[in-house]
Amino acid sequence: MKEADKIRKGDVRTATRLIRNIEDSIPEAKTAIKHLFPFTGRAHVVGLTGAPGAGKSTLIDSLISRYRKMNKTIGALLVDPTSPFTGGAILGDRIRLQRHAEDPQVFVRSLATRGALGGLSKAAGDAIHVMDAMGKDLVFVETVGTGQQEVEVMNHVHTVVVVMIPGMGDDIQAIKAGILEVADIFVINKADREGAGRLYQELMHMLDMAGTFAGGWRPPIISVDTMFKPELFHEGVEELSTKIDEHYENLVSKNLLGSRLRRKVMAELNEALQSSILTPILRKIIDSGEMESLIEKLIKKETDPYTCAEEIAKKYLR
C-alpha cells in the first residue's frame, strides 16, 4: 500500500490529504486507515480541553517549543466549531502555533467539528492515527472550546489536560459531573488573575473527596501565570510538561494503558459501526424519499419515532 508507506515515511502531503478524505467521508480513505492501523499506538496522545479563551492553543504552542528542545517530534490537531447555519468554519487556533510552521518535525492540522458533539470532530480519531503512524512522539489534541460535558476527548487520548481560568462560577461547579471528572491534569491558566486561589482550593477539595485514584494518580493542579510574565509562564509550562510525562509513565508502570486502550478501541468501533451501518441506511432512506414521507407522518402524528425506527431496522437489517 503506497499511500500508507508514504505516510509512515512522514510525507505531509499524503497525510494531510488522507485526513481530508476522512473528514469528507470518502470511502477509499478507510482502506488507507486499515493499512495504517497496525502501525499506530506508539505516540503519546495528549488532549487539552477547557472553556473558550482558557488558553489551550497558547499552552500547546509553548509545550511544542519545550518538547522540541528535547528533540521530540510533534503532531497537533486543533478543533474549532462549524457554523450550524452555513456549514462554514473559522479555524483560528493555528495563529498561535505559526512560529513552528517551518519546523519539519511539527505537523499541525486544523479540523472543523462539522456538527459532531463532544468537543471533537468525527475525523479526530483517524487523524490521530495518521499522525501516530507518521512517527510523531507526541500528538496534542486541542478540543473545541468546551462547556461542561464535552468529554469525547477522553476516548481518544492517553492524558487529558483540563485547562481552567479563574472567575467562572461558584463552588458547586467543582462537584458536578462532566469535564472535571475526566481530567488527568488540571491547569489553572492566567493564575495571576483574581479568584485563582479559590479555584485551586475548590479543585483540591473536589479531589480530596474523590478518595481513590486509578493507579494512585491524583490529578495534579498546575498554576500557570499569564504570558505577560514570561518567566513565570515558562516555569508553569515546564511543570506541565513534566506532569504530562509522569502521567504517561504512570500509565505504563501501573499497567493502565490497557484499560485506556479498551476505552479507545470501543469508541472507535462505535464510530465505525455508525459510519458502516447507520450512515448507509440513512442515505438510502433519504435518497428514496422515505425520510420525507416519514417526517410528514410524524408531524401528522400518524406514527411515532420508535415505530419508524423499528420498521426501518426490519427492512434494512433483515
Binding site: T16, D24, S83, A101, R283
Partner: protein, 133 residues
C-alpha cells in the same frame, strides 16, 4: 455521505499589521460555507506555504497593504510549487496599483481584488474558480 468542503487559507505576509480586511473576508468565507484557516499577521512566505500544505487547502488568499506584494505574492506561489502544492490556487488583495496586476498575473496569482471589490464578488469568484481537488 461524502461532503466535500472547500478549504481556504487567509494569510497576511510581510510586515503589514492591518488585518481587519482579512478578518472580514474570513468571516464572509465562513458565511459562504467554506472552512477558513486564518494564520494571522506578519507571516513569511515560507510559513504560509508550509501551513497551506499541512492544512491541505484549495485556495490561499493573500492580503497586503504595505506595497510589498510584488515580492511576497509571487514568492508564495513559487514556494507552493517547490513543495508540491502547485494545485493550490493563490489570489491576492489589498492596496495593489493597476500597473502591478499583469506582473502578478504572470507570476501565477489567479485573481487580485483591490479596494472597492465587493465581498459577494470575491465569494462568487471562489465558487466559480475553485473546486475541491
Amino acid at each position: 455521505m461524502t461532503e466535500r468542503r472547500i478549504r481556504i487559507m487567509v494569510a497576511k505576509p510581510g510586515l503589514d499589521g492591518h488585518d481587519r480586511g482579512a478578518r472580514i473576508l474570513s468571516r464572509c468565507f465562513r458565511d459562504a460555507g467554506f472552512e477558513v484557516i486564518y494564520t494571522g499577521c506578519h507571516q513569511t512566505p515560507e510559513q504560509i506555504a508550509s501551513a497551506a500544505i499541512q492544512e491541505d487547502v484549495d485556495l490561499v488568499g493573500l492580503s497586503c497593504l504595505s506595497g510589498a506584494h510584488r515580492y511576497l505574492f509571487p514568492r508564495v506561489v513559487e514556494l507552493l510549487r517547490e513543495r508540491g502544492g502547485d494545485d493550490i490556487t493563490v489570489i491576492g488583495g489589498g492596496i495593489i496599483p493597476d500597473q502591478d496586476l499583469q506582473m502578478l498575473h504572470d507570476a501565477g496569482i489567479k485573481a487580485v481584488f483591490t479596494p472597492g471589490a465587493s465581498l459577494d464578488s470575491i465569494v462568487q469568484w471562489v465558487r466559480e474558480n475553485v473546486s475541491v481537488k
